[in-house]
């Protein structure tokens, strides 16, 4: 199955914080709006990002009207709509706007599960990254929720057996 996605700054920053940007290789096509790249660049481009294959795109021509979203989130959502690709974001408001617009939307935890499913991570590595996402990044997620996500991985593993 071919996977194409556009990311806002959240997953790029959060995956960089846990040293897991290589998981973006699970996507056959990764688009990054120029606005998002500029946002990430402000904090310093993460080391691993230059090793990844991605395409910079300009979303300025079709802004998505939403006062709740920042410029990068609006640009990424516009690209997701235009290109009909998955929108990667860790922002709750952006996620809700995408769902309302009928756009397929997922976040960093989904990317870790995808990496596990595609054999890029062992179970322990995936669980460790999920914990790190909760403990070491600015992503707001309750520990109990992360534990549930890890149990889902385990259940899928048992189902596969």
């Amino acid at each position: 199955m071919t996977l194409a996605a556009v990311s806002d700054a959240g997953p790029l920053i959060h995956l960089a914080e846990i040293d897991a940007l290589e998981l973006l290789a699970a996507f056959d096509t990764l688009l990054i709006p120029e606005t998002v790249y500029a946002e990430v660049e402000t904090g310093g481009i993460p080391d691993g990002l230059s090793d990844r294959s991605y395409e910079l795109v300009d979303a300025a021509a079709r802004p998505v009207p939403s006062t709740e979203l920042d410029a990068g989130e609006r640009a990424a959502l516009a690209v997701a709509t235009d290109y009909d690709v998955t929108f990667l974001t860790d922002d709750l408001a952006a996620r809700e706007a995408a769902s309302e617009a009928g756009v397929d939307v997922h976040g960093s935890i989904g990317i870790i599960a995808l990496g596990y499913h595609r054999g890029m991570l062992h179970r322990e590595q995936a669980a460790s990254l999920m914990h790190a996402l909760q403990q070491e990044t600015s992503l707001f997620v309750t520990r109990a929720i992360v534990e549930r996500g890890i149990r889902q991985l385990d259940e899928s593993h048992r189902t596969d057996d």
Partner: protein, 83 residues
């Protein structure tokens, strides 16, 4: 890590004009509150505590936020495992 904690306590105490002992006390209270919230929300999400009791202990906002997070994580993991 211990040196980093000492440095931060000293910096906060100086900036806020507080004794270091009070900075430690506030840090303990704040940390304990986070651990308490984690415990209550874990018990609720695991079905060991009913919703109204969870709301009484940590507030409606945190319970509703945890419910939304649960939906998102379940959706995301399910997607990742099937994409």
């Amino acid at each position: 890590m211990a040196a980093e904690i000492s440095d931060r306590v000293r910096a906060i105490a100086e900036a806020r004009g507080l004794p270091e002992s009070e900075v430690f006390e506030r840090a303990l209270e704040r940390g304990l509150e986070d651990l308490w919230d984690d415990l209550v929300l874990a018990q609720y999400l695991d079905g060991d505590l009913d919703r109204e009791d969870a709301i009484d202990r940590v507030g409606r906002t945190k319970v509703e936020r945890a419910e939304r997070e649960r939906e998102i994580v379940e959706e995301d993991v399910d997607w990742g495992l099937n994409a």
